[in-house]
Amino acid sequence: MGRGAQQGYEPTRRAMLAGGGALAASVGIAGCTAVTGPAPLRFWATSYEGDYSPLLMPDFTRATGIPVDVQSVPSTAAHEKMLTAQAGGALPDVMMLPSGWIGEFAMIGAVMPLPGPALAGDVVPGALAQTRIGDRCYGVPWSVAPMVQYYRRDLLAAAGYQAPPQDWASWRTMARALKRRRPDDFVLLSLLNWPDTLITMLFQTGATLLRDRDTRGNFRTPEAQAAFAFYLSLYREGLAPRALSTEVQDAVGAFAQGFYAIWPSWPTAMLDFERRKAEIPAAAWGIARMAGPDGPGPASRLDAALCVSATTPRPAAAWALVRHLTSAANELRFQRLIGNLPARQSAWTSPQLATPLIAPFAAQMREPNPAPRVLEWERIKIEMQLVAERIVRGLLTIDQGLAMIDTRVDAILAKRRALVDAGRIA
């Protein structure tokens, strides 16, 4: 506006635009500061946790005056989204991570260690170990989620079973009986691109999946062979459909229709069934531990923890939010909302968890988690399942498949092997 001022007021187009812009900007800034107060904390969580955690936030905002902006991240894309966010410096202040990922995110410097031991006290045994890297904890366990089998009581009762037997041989006898009664339907739904059923079987046979300080694959063992043989037999005998997640649009609906009678799944499936109780009443389904070769054993787990970004400008507020979300009371409230099981030990004294439905989880929770603690584990699981799918489809024998898994795992671990040999990581 320099020239305009010198020559007296002369409303040129350029001056008008500049003035208008400045006015709009100042209104914008004033508007922001006037309305919002402190900027909201950003919180990311996956699946039902992401969908329902806004319900836990009003209490926090009332107590601290800090609003929270919750973003629900789809679980199938969470890993790449979070890695990309870390590389781009866009991670939220607080995030939910599957406990198995914490090692990876701690190594790349995405999450910060706990400020003190108080937050990590009162946690169910085993849950904390997964968040510990070296001698520091990088997350506060939020929920525990061991795999169990959901079963249709009515279908099993018709075949003469109260509940699924707990050892493989009798379980298979039951499955054959069910299949005989309903030859067009299936007994078990275990999707071919979903590794956790097979991982559970591998854990149960006691297979040690990696060797040489976790730098090479170790799938060519009798234990792994036994697990793969049992897994394959389920598809060979037509007890499980050869289906991928992209083919099964509505697993709960199919369960309600009796398309299959047993579904290995996680605690949040309780919410799925609760939501659809018009189709599948509560009396029609039950929960049991996963059957093992000679009775139940360790199973795959999907525990989750809350972590604070290493770059958050407000660590105190972020840890306050973590403390709020992981309080025993809030974890119990979440349990009522979405079925998720609390990671706080003291929450387990509540009568809310002393029900027959929760009992299998409580027993399963006490088993150790034998998952190897290398950051390539997530990828190894997926590669293993891709080979398992080819075995099920008859493209490979079990021996060829196990050799192929070892080759692929060795390739995935090549970088880790080099770093371990050079003494750069343990």
């Binding site: 410097g109 991928l244 489809r393």
Partner: protein, 293 residues
């Protein structure tokens, strides 16, 4: 420099600067990445980064999945380009016919899939292709063909995705062809008819030479598009069943963004670039021979 060329540079400078910043620079950086072993360990600590020369390329050529991805992509392009262009041309010829009523309505209806969200349409197509309840298997059943496990059988998954992709994209080239067809000289057409040329003869010797350049452009764009196929298998099958729909770009996405092996992924990108460039050069050669360029 003349005044005119100075002005020209001035006007193009902003665009050139943006292209240099968001296209040339990242490409050069990706070239640099492709000769390193950049992985998640390097994201943690730069000192874990090593120069590996052509190591990534050697690794790739010994990775069975990469060859599978190349084969799948070749299959997608080899079948998909004729399918898509054939469908576009057939639809355009039908729409060009003088006996067709309500042309604008048909144009919109056939073009609509192209501008609809790929994720939304993929979900609808997943329902259509469902083995038990899908409409497509129901229709096949009416004419006595047994149910096809479209998305679960490794041999049916590529055709299933091709049907979806063709339906999704043919509208674009159809519009281009409709425009090209309206420019076919009517006097030549009438002369050919008077000389007793058959319907096929008129198409082969009058229509085709006239729309040749358009056809070439459509072929070049479709080949480049099919070689970069990603979203459709990502949403429809996630690369399955048995990795039968993993394309080169899907492989690159998994390596790069899912597992953060950006060194390896950059090598894939470079190979894909060379492939597309090679195919396009061959296509332009063919175009020159027929004087379409």
């Amino acid at each position: 420099m003349t005044r005119q060329s100075r002005a020209a540079w001035l006007f193009t400078a902003p665009v050139l600067a943006i292209i240099a910043l968001v296209f040339v620079l990242p490409t050069v950086l990706a070239l640099g990445l492709s000769v390193t072993d950049y992985s998640i360990y390097a994201l943690a600590d730069w000192s874990n980064l090593r120069f590996v020369g052509l190591g990534n390329f050697v690794d790739l050529l010994t990775t069975p999945l990469f060859w599978r991805a190349l084969g799948n992509t070749a299959l997608f392009a080899g079948l998909g380009v004729p399918m898509a262009i054939g469908a576009s041309l057939a639809a355009a010829l039908l729409l060009h016919d003088t006996t067709i009523w309500w042309k604008p309505l048909w144009r919109v209806a056939l073009f609509a899939p192209y501008v609809t969200s790929v994720v939304a349409t993929a979900i609808v197509w997943r329902f259509l292709l469902n083995t038990r309840f899908g409409l497509i298997n129901y229709a096949l059943g009416l004419i006595g063909i047994g149910p096809v496990d479209w998305l679960g059988d490794p041999h049916a998954s590529i055709p299933a995705i091709l049907i979806f992709v063709t339906w999704k994209i043919f509208g674009y080239n159809m519009i281009v062809f409709v425009a090209a067809l309206s420019a076919v000289p009517q006097d030549l057409m009438e002369a050919a008819r008077l000389d007793g040329a058959s319907r096929w003869g008129r198409f082969r010797h009058v229509t085709l030479p006239a729309i040749g350049p358009t056809l070439l452009l459509a072929a070049v764009m479709s080949v480049a598009g099919f070689l970069q196929l990603f979203a459709e298998p990502y949403v429809m099958t996630m690369g399955g069943p048995a990795q039968s729909t993993v394309t080169v770009l899907y492989f690159m996405f998994d390596e790069g963004f899912k597992w953060w092996n950006l060194g390896q992924a950059s090598a894939v990108a470079l190979i894909l670039f060379i492939l597309i460039l090679g195919v396009t050069i061959v296509q332009t050669r063919i175009g020159r021979r027929y004087e379409w360029l």
